[in-house]
Subunit: 130 residues, 2 copies
């Protein structure tokens, strides 16, 4: 397998609401086909798909709750940009989980949750190119 | 916010076992710092972090079970390559959730689960550049 992730698909409760949310973050809807919405990002594609449809597609039960044990990170060029990005997310309707703060590893970071509770970290990391 | 995802972080039960698994898929470990492992992929970074540490980092409860409501997709250039990739994953210890098959949308697809049950779709999509 080549070292790549082509798509991240989020299984959402309300496709319309989630699509609106990600548009407000500044992501551009690329395609909307058969109940799946694609946002072509700079480096990969983010897809939104109804939660039940995603479970069906994989052939797994859609039962599940609580911590999903993953996060998506959006890295930016400065601590200031972390704060402004969190603010954009808040205005779009995100829940701010952790406001911007100095991280133990030396950068600056905060977290927001999307309408389904999917965790996004917004971070400035001066030590890694991300 | 710029349209990008810099990192996908998976919160895993056994960091060593998961690291081995992703190396067997052909991903190259880039850094292993303070209990977080980074794989620099072609287009973004995949990070493995202990599940509890990820919950702590975000400041959320680590309670949760069942369907995580997301999948990662690995797109390849042909139906044959879907099958060979699923085979590589199987040999690495993945559970094959769905073997390669023609998809309703016209491509060819299958699913495997990593050691923590994270869902990966391996797909050939002749209609989208992914």
């Amino acid at each position: 397998m080549k070292p790549k992730i082509s798509l991240v698909t989020l299984g959402v409760k309300d496709l319309e609401a989630s699509t609106k949310f990600y548009k407000k973050l500044g992501f551009k809807e690329d395609e909307n086909n058969d109940g799946i919405v694609f946002f072509k990002l700079q480096n990969l594609t983010l897809a939104l798909f109804p939660r039940e449809a995603l479970a069906n597609d994989a052939g797994v039960s859609e039962e599940g709750s609580g911590f999903r044990a993953f996060s998506l990170a959006h890295n930016v060029a400065s601590a200031h940009e972390v704060d402004t990005s969190l603010n954009v997310a808040k205005k779009a309707g995100a829940k701010i989980i952790k406001t911007g703060h100095k991280a133990s590893w030396g950068g600056y970071t905060g977290y927001f949750a999307d309408p389904d509770g999917f965790l996004w970290e917004v971070a400035w990391n001066p030590f890694m190119e991300l």
